[in-house]
Symmetry: D2
Subunit: 165 residues, 4 copies
């Protein structure tokens, strides 16, 4: 039977230290929960931090990459999916994740969070800024959640997955 897959999305270059810390913790907790971690697979920022966190607890990490080969891939990705599709791959990430954790914000991250809502996935914004929270809450109050840290985000995800939403 298919394993439970959850996604962590966030900026690559330019992600703050705090944002990367949240991503690393999310990766750890996802591995502890025995979920498969799916990210965009790149070697910087949130994607790399989450993948490293998951590997620190021996989790399984999937990277759905924009590129057609391994250049710029996080060394903490176990299973690389090379799409060769650039940012069009963002939609694959959200369709393949039962719940999407959002750490930090930027154009690519905003695209993924928006596509997640479009695909009726729940998004959990970890320590978001006020404007981003209001923007997504306004579009879909029911599927936009907020967590102050990784641990609270995991609890929210666990609740959603139990409900089967």
């Amino acid at each position: 039977m298919a394993r439970r897959v959850v996604g962590v999305v966030g900026p690559d270059a330019g992600a703050s230290e705090m944002v990367c810390k949240h991503a690393y913790e999310l990766g750890r907790e996802i591995a502890i929960a025995k979920w498969v971690l799916l990210t965009g697979g790149r070697s910087e920022g949130v994607m790399d931090a989450a993948s490293r966190g998951a590997k620190s607890e021996d989790g399984v990490t999937v990277g759905v990459l924009p590129s057609s080969d391994a250049r710029g891939m996080s060394p903490s990705v176990d299973i690389p999916i090379f799409t060769g599709m650039g940012q069009a791959r963002n939609n694959i990430n959200v369709l393949s994740s039962e719940v999407i954790f959002v750490c930090g914000m930027g154009p690519g991250t905003a695209a993924e969070a928006s596509l997640a809502l479009k695909a009726r996935r729940h998004i959990i914004l970890v320590s978001p800024d006020e404007i981003a929270l209001r923007f997504f809450k306004t579009m879909d109050p029911e599927r936009t959640h907020i967590a102050t840290d990784a641990s609270e985000a995991i609890d929210i995800a666990r609740g959603l997955l139990l409900r089967g939403d």
Copy 2:
């Protein structure tokens, strides 16, 4: 030589009358400017209104559809591109448009506006609400523009295209 292609993005079902009026006017003005109009091609809301506006002035309309056939396609699309890719097609729309006009807001529209900024395209928000404007301005102040109506939006686009940005 390739023609100038500009995009209009916005919600399908649920677009307000005012938003559709802006989209129709944008389509008209785009046709008058001899630009090719690119939309998501669907038969409702902003995509249909913009395409109808362009056809009222004998413009050329391209629809890059999520579907693999003509079901749900606007009758005002001249040249349908059937992607069969769902929302992954959004990235094609922004890559293929030199400038993107944004009418109304929703998860699909937010994804397109975000992907546009990621691809370093300028977006022109037509009469946006306060939160959406602040959200995109915060992410990319230089490439996020605001217009009160279609006519002002076209003037901004003309300026950007002349500058060759």
Copy 3:
């Protein structure tokens, strides 16, 4: 109402002079028939030759490109669709074409002809070699057609489009 769109597929670099001559003639005849020509949009081989042929008769040419910008694009493309998806864009080409003309053969062309059959499109092989003809005929005898030259290929397409297959 949407215009009739037909596709011409074939190799870029490495297409023989004879293959390019067929492609040019196909482009000319497609324009004369008032159909829109869709190709992969690149500046070499069959895609460029067909597009040039169509423009010689003032036809409309669409190029669905693997790239995310105009580098390597045929100057005879009117309306470029930048997919940024590499060869994954081949499926868009066949879904968007009512009939697919195949000039020459190679891995990319074989992928497009195969995807066309998978999508239940008719393919018309123009002066194919014996092995290619047998390969596609074996997979789908009903939808695989052969023509000795561009003019015969256009006649076959016209018959198929009239039947509405």
Copy 4:
């Protein structure tokens, strides 16, 4: 470090019993070799048989699906990647596989084998018919291999992966 991923492609409905037997054996041997198996993920024919074979030896199975959800997915897929892209997903399968095993033939399979050659991947045709073998051999003699059964196919793959081609 990323695990070694290899692909098995072949028809879904309509795959013969012999073809499915080869696919099952390939799956088994891939799992024994500790490679990750990647297929198109569907619940019929070659994709399902290969995935079942891999699970019989406790292998890891990835399914890159044309659909946007689990309908029609093989129960032997561990990690589903939902692309929502139909046959455009075929290119992802070949980019993500270091070597591609081809069992049986049909339009979708031919597209994947062709895209594999286009992406400069080696393909190993397991017990192919004469026409298919000649077709692919003609296009790329260096990267088209033939094996009489699963065991020989695995030996060829092992040789190619050692060479690092």
